[in-house]
């Protein structure tokens, strides 16, 4: 039998604490080999039911999955022309997603996106047509070409900023176009390279199966672009750059080499763009200098502007809108560019960051309106606001103050010159309903600052008005020096003072 061990007060080795399961994660499963969860589940304790609940903190992955699945599943049921439009949408979305990586994540205002795509496409196509490179290696060739072009383009971006760099890249696009058109041995047919082999077999080109394969390829391309965006933007590189975006000096001071990170992002996305270029050449079976044209670039810019700069969903939504208008409404002619311009104008005038940012903007606006309403409500006159109510433990006091406020508001409406005249004629005695109510309210008031009549000692019918201090031992104070010659007059003076206080409360 062990004897019970006694501890000195305050020396107990372990307190017994029941586990509080409030915010412990319910689901700890992670993606294998990573520290990521598939969905962002959060656990929280519901204070009303005292039960632990599971909350999906970020619903974006669900929307992405639904949208992409709908796109993939609906493709086989689309008509041939619709299938082409959807494929083009996928290709342009992939380009825009990678461009967003450059403009948004890296923060380099580059307009050479299509130029890099074109360089990749031309390299792949030329190698395939003239040297007989098999088509799967075209992607590699395009990627390497894009990487090299991106590296060359990225060099001046440390020295030039903003607009100057944008102009330079625009110049590069122009130079590429002229170069390609003039290089006769490479491009004998007015700058374009035709009959490129690709993942779509020759016989199926522009046939239903060919279109389906083309769509499948474009869809996979979009998925890969989104994956690249996810890996670059929300992992280490993107995090580094996010710091630099907010404050470059701070980022540098904390040891972040944001310039290097920018270069890396630029090169990665340029390699991706090169791959897309090779895909583009295979998809159409040819590539022409039109890819370097300014109009095409402006249309692409319109896409990411409408969707919202710096967001993957913005790039995709903007592309969907513009491609639908540009390719889907061919019969309305030049009007469709007008429509795109109008949408661009409206989006820029009304939203802060495109359509993808509209939801957040609406929430900000609603929060602002709510806080404005709250600020308006502080003109309260004794009422208790919900914010301060949580600090008052005696809830009776809250209700009393609310009741008092309403009572005063009501009494204020009763006070008229007839009522005052009635009181002056007859301070004591039978009163009308309104005057009785007002006087009853006055009689119930706090002792602090309550008025009283004091008779001047040694004089008959000479009265002054005092106000109680409300503190035991502290004498009342004289309200003013006026002396009243009759008690009724004094009663009425007190009444007027109280009325004044009521009206001002």
């Amino acid at each position: 039998m062990t004897e019970k061990k006694l501890f000195e007060i305050g020396q107990r080795p372990q307190e017994i604490a029941l586990p509080v399961s409030g915010s412990e994660p319910l689901d700890r499963r992670r993606l294998p080999f990573t520290r990521r969860h598939l969905l962002k589940w959060r656990s929280r304790l519901n204070p009303k039911t005292l039960k632990q609940e599971r909350l999906l903190a970020d619903k974006k992955p669900l929307w992405w999955t639904i949208a992409l699945a709908l796109l993939a599943l609906s493709a086989p049921f689309l008509s041939n022309s619709a299938l082409t439009i959807v494929s083009i949408f996928c290709i342009f979305s992939a380009i825009n997603v990678l461009w967003t990586l450059i403009i948004g994540t890296a923060g380099i205002f580059s307009l050479a996106t299509l130029a890099v795509v074109g360089i990749g496409g031309y390299c792949g196509a030329a190698l395939n047509v003239y040297l007989g490179l098999p088509w799967p290696l075209m992607f590699l060739a395009g990627g390497i070409a894009g990487f090299v072009a991106g590296g060359l383009l990225a060099l001046p971006s440390t020295r030039l900023d903003g607009l100057y760099y944008a102009l330079l890249t625009m110049g590069v696009a122009e130079i590429c176009r002229v170069f390609v058109q003039q290089l006769k041995p490479l491009t004998p047919y007015n700058g374009s390279i035709n009959s490129v082999q690709g993942f779509i077999p020759k016989d199926w080109m522009l046939q239903r199966p060919g279109l389906l394969i083309g769509f499948a390829g474009a869809f996979v391309l979009l998925l890969l672009a989104l994956l690249t965006f996810r890996i670059v933007n929300s992992e280490r590189l993107g995090m580094l750059l996010q710091t630099a975006r907010e404050d470059e000096d701070f980022a540098q001071a904390s040891g972040i080499d944001y310039r290097k990170a920018r270069m890396q992002v630029f090169c990665i996305s340029s390699a991706g763009l090169g791959v897309i270029g090779a895909f583009y050449a295979q998809f159409y079976g040819s590539i022409s200098p039109a890819i370097f044209s300014l109009d095409q670039l402006m249309l692409l810019f319109a896409m990411i502007v409408i969707g919202g700069l710096g967001r993957a969903e913005g790039a995709v939504i903007g592309t969907a809108i513009v491609v639908l208008i540009d390719k889907g409404l061919l019969e309305i002619g030049p009007l469709r560019i007008l429509l795109v311009a109008a949408i661009m104008l409206l989006v820029t005038l009304w939203t802060d960051n495109g359509i993808a940012g509209a939801r957040e903007q609406f929430r900000r606006w609603r929060r602002r309106k709510q806080s404005e309403a709250r600020a308006r409500r502080t003109e309260k006159g004794g009422d208790v606001m919900p914010e301060e109510a949580i600090e008052i433990h005696d809830k009776q006091a809250i209700y009393y103050r609310r009741f008092d406020k309403r009572l005063r508001d009501h009494l204020k409406t009763l006070i008229t010159s007839e009522l005052i005249e009635e009181h002056r004629l007859n301070p004591l005695g039978q009163h009308s309903d309104g005057l009785s109510r007002v006087l009853n309210y006055f009689r119930r008031g706090d002792v602090a600052d309550k008025y009283a009549i004091i008779r001047q000692s040694g004089q008959f019918h000479a009265y002054k008005i005092v106000a109680f201090s409300g503190v035991r031992g502290a004498p009342p104070r004289l309200v003013d020096d006026k002396t009243y010659d009759g008690i009724n007059e004094a009663y009425h003076a007190v009444f007027l003072l109280r009325l004044n206080d009521l009206m001002e409360s």
Binding site: P156, R159, L160, D161, L163, Y164, L167, L168, M170, G171, V172, E174, I175, V178, F179, Q181, Q182, L294, M298, F301, A302, V305, G333, P334, L335, I337, L338, V340, A341, A342, M344, L345, T348, L349, D352
Partner: protein
Amino acid sequence: MDLSILLVHGLSLAAIYGLMAIGISLLWSSIGMINMAHGASFAVAGYAAWGAAEVAKPLILATLGKTLSGTIAMAGVCLSAGALSGAIMGGLIYLLAFLPIHDKPNFAVRSLIVTLAINMATVQTLLWVFGPKQKNLPKIFGMGRIEFLGLSARYDQLGTIIGTTVILGLLLFWLKVSRKGLEIRAMMQNPEGAVLSAISVRWTALPVTMLTGALAGLASVLLSQTIFVSPTSGAVPLIKGLTIALLGGLGSVPGAVAGAVIIGFLEAIIGALPFLGQRYVLFGTFLFIIAVLIIRPRGIGGLLDKARK
């Protein structure tokens, strides 16, 4: 190769590019806006001048005939129609791209996007209304050549050079002496300081946008003496003006003039060289500008620190 032709050609190109570049540069330095719709102003002014000339031609022929005064009247009609429509476009740009957004965050990028949208919309509207067919303006300076001090120049080239010099001189004089010009210069030097000295941003921006629009309009009428008016005719002058404004350093008027002269002569020389020719003009100028920008990241006349933040 005739050196005199080269000189005159280079000068006339420099004059037109200078008009465009100074408009862009002025707008950037005074209100911080890159006007991508400058090309649209250019095209609209070209069409307006064409329309005015079509209307006025029978009237002038009937009253004045083919005399010198008739030519002058025609020139006046064309130039004033171009300048007026350019100014109206400037007012439109002010209403759409400045007034609603100038106090919102990220104004520079926003206004760039809005003016780009205006540009796209205008070009498409012109294409829709007038069709892709090119129009040509009447030769307001007449046809012919003049020999002067051993130089040979076409009338239109000479007119362009002299006209631009006069216009730019008037503009700089106006900026120098007038009250509004003082306000604009104050805005260029220090926007916050200007606002604190009770200079209204809105009432300074309106004349600046209209003025730069009018400059684009004049450039359009002058350039349309050598090329045709078409819906997309604004694109090349816009790009040229923009690149020259950047080459000269955004916001620097002397820089813009220097850039225009350099690029004008560069184009004339590249176009005249036998082994390069016209098709390499854009190529060469871009290569040159890129080289300059890499050596001097803020252009020829731009300061190295942030001139406008």
